[in-house]
Symmetry: D2
Subunit: 345 residues, 4 copies
């Protein structure tokens, strides 16, 4: 089969590889019908996550079950499915507490041996272990483009929003209007805020944010913290969501919230450690959360919301390409020429 | 001044009465600019709440502060305000726990001596005691029609929705599409459900419910419980809101939810006691809540949501009349010829 | 092997039956080391749950794993374990929402074909399906008597207490000081109440309740509702737990709570339907919950609390007997001559 | 009257000052019966909070109402009361959201003009403004020593514990066994944890922590993070409470929790800014909270818990001295010769 593979720093090639097959009773073989290029794929692309040449890429994908292991209870051949970008064991202490994202046996698709040795979704086929826990059926009538982000960035937007402790009538600031920030802008509205401010420096992204219900603030032209204060009667936002990961956006996310507020960060931190305003946190009684998404918990409700027409994650797709063009897709995405690219095998 | 008064069972007259004046330091005098006729006014109208002839009616009103007592800190003459339909003392044990609706000194506007001896809002002027706690300023640019329901039925819809424990992706059934049910239909959506089913037997009400985001189910034509099951994969709703108060609608609200679900009732019960399916509750692990709204907690966030264009309570107004026509307004409302009537002094 | 069997209404015999064996990959064979007689066993004993002659009894048990199916990941031969009194499939919609007690494929031990066709724990051996989900390992150093109630009545006490929404400083009333009420008395204290009132008519039960941290109220000598009011400054309890199931105790549980309070019922209702004070609920904004315990969620934390010396469920054991004496044990328990009886094979 | 006054860095003198008197309708005059020296008093003592010579010290105090303003509703002369260490206006946006500790008009007792210009409690008399909101009556039979900490460090312990999101069965680590840490050790147990680890380097403090229900870990002898892991099956604590404020204790609090855990900090940060492990937070999905206590919310339940014998804050008092000896009391406390000192006028 064909698959997009890592071939060295900033080198991606679509090559012929062996079609995978199921071994465990809990596994399914998926014929991939759509995959996507994700911001975290760039960590591999740029060499920040070490992969071996020839390892398959891609962890956002949907497809059709081709074969199911004997222990699989929820799926059968022919079912259309979306998978989480990682699998969790379900049996360790943290899985049993419901923290699948903190599973001690967690393995991620599309990052080779170093992150778990699973296959990649930017390919014609992929094997999903722990299928009953790791996948959801796609409702009839829902397109692949609508369903695909449920397994990663839409769930991340939801995780960010839930952990921001938004209450009806609140004001929320989302810092960053890239794919994850746009998903968070949508998901924040599931908690009934009066305002969702979308803060970014790129007008084209802010236009999508506005279409998705956000109030745009272009931080290249105004002071974002002052803009949020101005629009909240001088108080500040009740909570903020950080969706970038760099010090300046973290700073904005922390300083635009009122006393007692919450900052929920899902941007992958650009540095291991950094500066933190401890005294301001004490004086303002703030809460800071940061984390990797607990996808398994959110897939089902997100699919229900999309099916009901209340979420439109597909609106962020800017480019539709063929799997054969994965090399160009990575180049474009790394060069920020695209908001979100999906690939058809 | 002129005021709508109770004059006997099903007799309302607009008469000249003494303009009220403030006595306590915590009171304000309001020049009323809009009032409304509420379903609970009919309890007085039909004689179920005993009032004396000549007592003033009306507990939904907005207006302008004409005079403020020396201890009032949040309001000054000229401020546009909306008031809760009742006042709470703020100092008893339950007020201090945040249950203003369970205040042991609670007094309600517009029901005469028997419910607290306050004035009525269907008049040119009214005095509001405990003003700092009982009122909110109306944001600039918001109309009276947008603001008025914040003090009663919109807050009741919010109370109903909050107590229904709705989570993102849930299915909620609202039983009854009268004014309170329509408000609940709107407010339920602040908690991110995939589906809000609106159940009623009158198509015109269901059309408004649909406009407000509900999925209509006409229970005069289909079995509502089966209809909810059909649209939830055979499972039932995650929660329901009862907004009528009669045994048949309570039954529907209880039987349309799944195991582990919650029924939140705000319809005023038509009878003191009634039948209850204890064993079904045990087997299905259900939660039943019923209550009178904690208005004071919801006024501010609701005003913020209306100002932001995320709630449109004014859409339920079907008739705009003059205070002078209050007698006719009561007749029409009692005869169900109007969804909601507002009165201008 | 020997096992206690139903032989007709109020007839229990210990007879020789075939030793069970595992068939599914998810099953384990347990050598039972202790079982208990539970209040719900009496429903079978008295013929209210229809069982066939010869079917095995008992759903509270602990033991040692003798054999484990190939798909079992958490247990191996030699492990000491406690099992939930029922198994849930883990894959239906409600299991996936975390409501294992509302599983559409739920099956209960010890009630024959009619409640799922599983074996009984009042025997030398029993097979537990879905073992990874249905059992917990018993911590080293913990006795069988300490662990056994985790799979049923202690979890039920916890479920009752959690659903009572107790906050630090609250007053809670537990109506009924039988085994479940005593467990609830203990578990209520995990939520930091100032007072846990234990209401019963039997002094010997109230003495155990007091030893477990409850404040006894003997409702055969005083009016329990007035007694709760007297000890809460005239306000009433913040919440109550109903652990009996008959109309009089339900009434006490409902009338002893303050406005805004919660009644959490786990007593199995003696009748399908009954009278309910709807108007009082509306006026006092009350919450009523009733349900069958979600055991799977509570087993692990309860075992941790027992191991840490913070819960002492074994204190309610009044009689230690041999499995061979099961017939006499049932007679005594039905005659209320024992608070709780455990049986050793 | 006599009062302890700041006279320069590390200089405290008890001098004669004018007896204060009430001016506003919402004020009461208190005859102080007991005050305490608090860790935050040392910030003034050492000059880190700038006070003028002659300004009164002390913000932990109880006493008897001598005179009440005309607008005071909850108190009358003769009432024994405990006051919060600060007053909040009750009317600003954050007060109305329930964040009294973030009141924009907040003023603190005992720190002179710079923190609000209120009097000090280490004196014979003090005036408390906003009395209905700022004080609670002391229950009959409760001693001054039992009640006094409700207005500051016990409420802080409760705030820390509530924000640690402790669930029944959890393991919690409290870093620091000074007065606030000891209070947190007690309050953490109101949320039903299996384990409360108390981490400090001073055995005498750890002995008190153990008496109050904590499991002592002396971090001068063992690696505290490893010790917590060892006692939690290698997982780490579910949450931690930081009660010191220096980088090393913050580090311990952050590194001893499991994935998905919460760190709740109430130690006053020793530096404005400091290092923060962003990437670890992302990888482990952690929550960090820091703050100044919302005293007003906790006073009533804490008094109820003390009255019921479920909290024993007075156990941390190591020295009972006369107000006249305040100079020596400050010297001893600054020199760490005392755990907690109370002063009688």
């Amino acid at each position: 089969m064909k698959g997009a593979t890592f071939q060295g720093v900033e080198k991606v090639s679509v090559v012929d590889v062996a079609k995978p097959s199921i071994h465990g009773a809990d596994e399914v073989l998926i014929k991939v019908t759509l995959s996507a290029v994700c911001g975290s794929d760039l960590h591999a692309y740029h060499g920040r996550i070490p992969m071996a040449a020839g390892e398959l890429l891609g962890h956002e994908f949907v497809g059709v079950v081709e074969e199911a292991g004997s222990g699989v209870k929820r799926f059968k051949p022919g079912d259309r499915v979306v998978a989480s970008f990682y699998i969790a064991c379900g049996h360790c202490t943290l899985c049993r507490k419901g923290w699948f994202n903190e599973c001690e046996n967690l393995a991620t698709f599309g990052f080779g041996r170093v992150l778990g040795g699973l296959g990649g979704g930017q390919a014609e086929y992929i094997v999903v272990p722990m299928a009953d826990q790791s996948m959801e059926p796609i409702p009839a009538g829902m397109t692949d483009e609508q369903a695909i982000f449920v397994g990663d960035i839409l769930a991340t937007g939801m995780f960010a929003a839930e952990r921001a402790e938004i209450k009806p009538g609140d004001a929320v600031a989302v810092v960053g209007a890239g794919p994850v920030g746009l998903m968070a802008t949508m998901c924040a509205q599931l908690f009934g805020p009066a305002h969702v401010f979308a803060i970014d420096m790129v007008d084209s992204r802010l236009e999508i944010a506005q279409e998705l219900g956000g109030t745009p603030i272009n931080s290249s032209r105004v002071n974002a913290i002052e803009a949020v204060e101005d629009q909240t009667g001088g108080i500040g936002a009740d909570s903020s969501i950080e969706a970038v990961g760099v010090p300046s956006s973290i700073d904005t996310a922390m300083r635009c919230v009122r006393g007692g507020g919450t900052i929920s960060m899902v941007g992958v931190p650009s540095e291991l450690n950094g500066d933190f305003p401890y005294y301001m946190f004490w004086e303002k009684s703030l809460t800071f959360r940061c984390g990797r998404c607990n996808v398994q918990r959110y897939m089902r409700p997100l699919l229900d919301l999309i099916a009901a027409g209340r979420l439109h994650p597909e609106k962020i797709i800017s480019h539709r390409m063929k799997l054969d063009d994965a090399e160009e897709a990575y180049r474009m995405f790394a060069a920020r020429e695209a908001t979100k690219i999906v690939l058809t095998p």
